[in-house]
């Protein structure tokens, strides 16, 4: 049945209404499931480490520290400055290692190579290693995610 000037019949209207309700019900049930299944991400904004642990590093060496659940790398450069990286390959997420003799980072998963500044130079990695901001504040080494103040 259709009222004059109406765009749809009564049947269509009721079906639409019912379908809409069912859809809304489904969404309201699925939303909590969705929320539940994805835990909040855990990457830290900042990590503070005692500088004394890293003061005596030799140039051209790398030390590990936990950056959330990822390995972080602190590298002492030849001029005595420090650089911090996330030690995770930009190809498919394997942990990289630093090879001091070759002055390169290496990823064993698919033979990925980065130079000593973390720039990708060989193999499949598409981007340089992710850098972290590092500053020395008194006794502390403060490492921050890029863009975090």
């Amino acid at each position: 049945m259709r009222i004059k000037h109406s765009l749809f019949t009564r049947r269509q209207f009721l079906n639409g209404l019912l379908g809409g309700w069912l859809g809304a019900l489904a969404v309201s049930l699925l939303y909590p499931v969705f929320k539940f299944v994805f835990p909040p991400t855990r990457e830290p904004d900042q990590v503070t480490l005692p500088f004394s642990d890293f003061k005596d590093m030799k140039p051209n060496t790398v030390e590990n520290f936990p950056w959330g659940s990822k390995p972080g790398l602190i590298k002492k450069n030849d001029d005595g400055s420090y650089t911090a990286f996330v030690g995770v390959c930009t190809h498919l997420d394997c942990n990289v290692t630093y090879l001091p003799e070759q002055r390169k980072f290496f990823c064993a998963c698919h033979d990925g190579w980065y130079d000593q500044d973390g720039i990708h130079i060989g193999g499949p990695p598409p981007r340089p290693l992710r850098r972290l901001n590092l500053s020395i504040e008194g006794e502390d080494l403060v490492i921050k995610r890029e863009g975090v103040e």
Binding site: P39, T41, L92, A108, C109, D111, P124
Partner: protein
């Protein structure tokens, strides 16, 4: 005499309530065609055999396995060293997964090449492709459970691959990992997939698959069908089943021999902070993909190499799934061409696998 009467009485009592005799009658009337390619008919039930072994050994392993960051590697070590005959059970479980997946590949390829998926068996093929992916998912999740350094890296790579699918990819990765990174949560989640989610899926799809096969009967190859003569047939029960049993016995013998002489190793426990060890490698059935990821350069034109691999893979999967619909004129040029592709695919996968081992 009296006993016989009781047996009969019980049977009719049961049948009145369950209607089981319909199934028995169906089974006793079912026949299996006999021709040059009949041997492929045995692959299906052999897969079921291996699956049954997986279920039983899986039940056993779960009594001792501990799916946590601290306990996983140790509990597998305990199964291997302290639990009576634990090493055989784990070895059988590990080898049987390989055997099962190898047979699934053979089963599918034989169907592709003999074109058994042609009308009206398209849905049987599609449910079979689902079963293939569920089996691969079983293999992939199971590989992480011993939680040693090789399995950790393989899982990091494997769960990062979907990330390059535009849009949904990031969510798939997070869903698989239970967060941004592979952590102890990933292990617990993979255990959940392996022992509760995947088995339910597999059994449900398997039921559909087997139902369709019973409904349509065995397919016969095109060439045989064209001959037009009446084909020789073997009664399913008991003749064919007895032959299958011989095959099962032989396969079980091979499986146990391999499992006893070559038990899988267990590396040291995975360390989330340690660099990936040299020589990481997924299970053999992922090697050709692994090699592709390795040789694709970082950038091709303007898209990432790994994104391209993933998109190609997705395209391949979709085409594979809809193969019976694409291959809709099996007797003509197009059909023959698609058979050639099957052989090319075998050569390609074998070559990539060998290359990855060099």
């Amino acid at each position: 005499m009296k006993e016989q009467g009781m047996k009969k009485g019980f049977r009719s009592w049961l049948d009145e309530r369950s209607g089981l005799s319909t199934i028995f009658r169906f089974m006793s009337e079912k026949t299996v065609p006999q021709h040059r390619h009949s041997i492929w008919y045995y692959t299906g039930s052999a897969i079921l055999l291996f699956f049954a072994i997986q279920v039983i050994t899986g039940f056993m392993l779960v009594f001792y396995y501990n799916p946590t960051l601290e306990g996983a590697n140790q509990s597998v070590a305990r199964i291997m060293t302290e639990v009576p005959l634990g090493w055989i059970i784990r070895s059988v479980h590990s080898w049987c997964s390989s055997f099962m997946i190898a047979l699934v590949f053979i089963h599918l390829l034989s169907i592709w090449i003999t074109k058994a998926y042609r009308k009206p068996r398209e849905l049987t093929w599609m449910s079979g492709v689902f079963l293939l992916f569920v089996s691969l998912a079983f293999g992939f999740t199971g590989y992480l459970l011993p939680w040693d350094d090789l399995s950790l890296s393989a899982t990091k790579v494997g769960t990062d691959i979907p990330r390059s699918i535009p849009g949904v990819g990031v969510w798939v990765t997070k869903l698989l990992r239970g967060g941004e990174d592979v952590t102890g949560d990933t292990l617990t989640r993979f255990f959940g997939f392996h022992v509760s989610i995947l088995p339910v899926f597999l059994l449900a799809i398997l039921a559909v698959h087997v139902y369709l096969i019973q409904k349509q009967g065995m397919s016969t190859p095109l060439a045989e069908e064209k001959k037009g003569e009446k084909m020789k047939e073997l009664p399913f029960w008991p003749n064919f089943v007895y032959r299958e049993m011989v095959v099962w016995l032989i396969l079980t013998g091979i499986l146990f021999s391999v499992a006893i002489f070559f038990p899988p190793s267990l590396h040291k426990a995975a360390d989330l902070m340690a660099p990936a060890p040299e020589g990481i490698r997924p299970e053999w059935y992922f090697l050709f993909l692994f090699q592709m990821l390795k040789i694709f350069p970082a950038k091709i034109l303007f898209i990432n190499g790994d994104t391209l691999v993933v998109l190609l893979m997705l395209l391949g999967i979709v085409a594979f799934f809809f193969l019976p619909l694409i291959d809709n004129r099996p007797e003509e040029r197009k059909g023959k061409f698609i058979t050639v592709i099957a052989f090319l695919f075998i050569v390609y996968a074998a070559a990539m696998t060998v290359w990855s081992l060099l």
